[in-house]
Amino acid sequence: MTDTLTFVPLMIVLGAIGVPAAVFAALGAGERALTLFSGGAGRRARPWVWLFLPLILVILILIYPVIVTIFTSFQDARAENWIGWQNYAWAFSGQMLDIVGNNILWLVAFPLITLVLALASATLFDKVRYEPLAMTIVILPTAISFTAGSVIWTQMYSFQPSGSPQIGTLNAIRALFGADPLPWLIQPVVNNFALIFVAVWLQLGIATLILSSAIKNVGSEMLEAARLDGAGEWLIFRAMILPNILPSVLVVLTTMIIAALKVFDIVYVMTNGNFGTDVIANRLYYELFAANNLGHASAIAVILLFTALPVALINIFQFRSEARS
């Protein structure tokens, strides 16, 4: 105990003073070295001198782990022997197929439901005077962590057998109308959508906010011109607003797709993957920390990475082209 008591503060002081000092010294030495070169070569070398430290950091904490994970994904449970593609064969067979299927359901349903609801909210909010209030209500869940949101909705979905008092809000409402209680988190398919809905509830606010600002940027005179040209409200939305906010729609879609790929907290807290609700990220956690199978866990991680990569790239290119225009 006495060791940590002196060791930790010492490390903090070392980190706070030592790291900047080391960076300063390294850059100073680099600049000194640059003066030895003649003009042109020095100019070309200078960016690399300054990039040197960040590049090392990126390699150390990003690229190195990725490479190790890829290697491990071709090894057995304890990362001792090479076993070829077996981990990947396992990842696309047996019960893993159901899990991948669940992720595909998330991948399609979550972004689409969020997008449609966000578009509807943003468009309708734009037409009412109490927009700030409506926006606040929709954005409020964004401030709640996924874990806390999951706990809230576990209570909302709570299920007691028919005849017992229902403490879950949804089943209490069903009881009010004389309907039998629904085991929201247990009944297959219903439970998957119940989980997806929690994610929608948590993310709808930010999606609405992005789309709302895009809609406000659509010129009001253009919409009036369309109205005079004979367009009704639906056509104005479809033919005028939607094409003009397409970049923002794409941003929302890709962000939500990545969120759907990585979904973990909601499933872990609410069902822990039981009753046919498991998803890849939760399984990754299980394989790594419960089953201690490094090979399986790494294979899943690699699959996740390469599925999310193209979507992330689309997002980056979209941002870049927007920055340029």
């Binding site: 109205r227 040209d229 009704g232 094409p243």
Partner: protein, 353 residues
């Protein structure tokens, strides 16, 4: 084609009234300009005609049909906006085709109409381009093309030239006027620029603070302004005003300067206080026997000379065909053209004679 009747039209936002019972009759095929300083309600009135603003009171009729409760898209009017309001994600051709498609017009007929409008406006080489690839003047033309293809009953223009540079503005001014003469479509045009109003209009409606101050032909307004507001608004530089008392055949200002009246007019108004108005271009140089004024500033434009003068206590602007050598600070004798002066009531500002 049809005329437009505005009868006691009113507009208010909650408690705040912005249009106070405006009535204007616009004949079929007429080019009418609504003009006035910013905030006078001219754009609001235009938007009420378009159906983009609700009418709070009175009625607006296009032809025989009262359109108070008719939706904008059913009023058969086309509008050119100040920002042009082109559809940025559509080519020039699609911009013009949009309304025709909505009408359910077949492709051949659409193409004929677009071709004709493009021909009139010189848009053929631009039909495949997007608005962002066009210059300001070209966008302006596309906005007009989009209005023309519809062959509407009424054209509405909301300050369409204010985003163009000065040279282009003068060009487009005459182009729009020629176009209207050719199509003979009833046109209502809003501007705050009195030169645009004077040069383009068959009839000008001068507005101030939600009311019509006067409605007449451009030269009618120039020659017979109904009050000091119209007198000052129409014409550039503005009309000069001097307050004084009618004595004999002159108006005598407080500083004793005598301003000439047309023969015989003095008798009818003898002893009355008046506002004496005369335009800068309606005075002549009179080295002998004129009113002595101090020259404050000389601005030669080449064809004429604009001079800022001090006439007793009043600041007066003059425009002369002659070149004036100055120097600034020296004295210039001038004489207002008595036949072309205007007299107004100094309290109400209304025209006296």
């Amino acid at each position: 084609m049809t005329g437009v009747s505005i009868r006691k039209a009113e507009k208010s936002y909650g408690e705040i009234a912005v249009i106070h019972g405006v009535s204007v009759e616009i004949e079929e095929g007429e080019f009418v300009v609504l003009v006035g300083p910013s905030g006078c309600g001219k754009s609001t009135l235009l938007r009420m005609i378009a159906g983009l603003e609700e009418i709070s009171g009175g009625e607006i009729a296009i032809g025989e049909r009262v359109v108070n409760d008719v939706e904008a898209k059913h009023r058969d009017i086309a509008m050119v906006f100040q920002s042009y309001a082109l559809y940025p994600h559509m080519t020039v051709r699609d911009n013009m085709a949009f309304s025709l498609k909505l009408k359910g017009m077949d492709k051949a007929e659409r193409e004929t109409r677009i071709g004709r409008a493009a021909d009139i406006l010189g848009l053929e080489p631009l039909l495949g381009r997007y608005p962002r690839q066009l210059s300001g003047g070209q966008r302006q033309r596309v906005a007009m093309g989009r209005a023309i293809v519809r062959d509407p009953q009424v054209f509405l223009f909301d300050e369409p030239l204010s985003n163009l540079d000065a040279k282009l503005r003068v060009e487009m001014r005459s182009e729009i006027k020629q176009l209207q003469h050719r199509l003979k479509t009833t046109t209502i045009y809003v501007t705050h620029d009195q030169v645009e109003a004077m040069t383009m209009a068959d009839k000008i409606v001068v507005m101030r603070a939600g009311r019509v101050e006067q409605c007449d032909t451009p030269l009618g307004l120039y020659d017979n302004p109904a009050n000091t507001f119209v007198a000052a608004f129409i014409g550039s530089p503005s009309m000069n005003f001097v307050e004084g008392k009618v004595e004999g055949d002159a108006v005598v200002a407080e500083d004793g300067i005598r301003l000439p009246l047309p023969a015989g007019q003095g008798a009818a108004l003898a002893g009355q206080r008046v506002t004496y108005g005369f335009r800068p271009e309606h005075m002549e140089l009179a080295p002998k026997g004129g009113i002595p004024c101090e020259i404050e500033l000389i601005e030669p434009t080449g064809s004429e000379t604009m001079v800022s003068l001090r006439m007793g206590q009043a600041a007066v602007a003059g425009v002369f065909r002659e070149r004036i050598a100055g120097p600034e600070g020296s004295t210039l004798g001038i004489r207002p053209d008595a036949a072309r002066i205007h007299l107004f009531d100094p309290r109400t500002g209304q025209r006296l004679a």
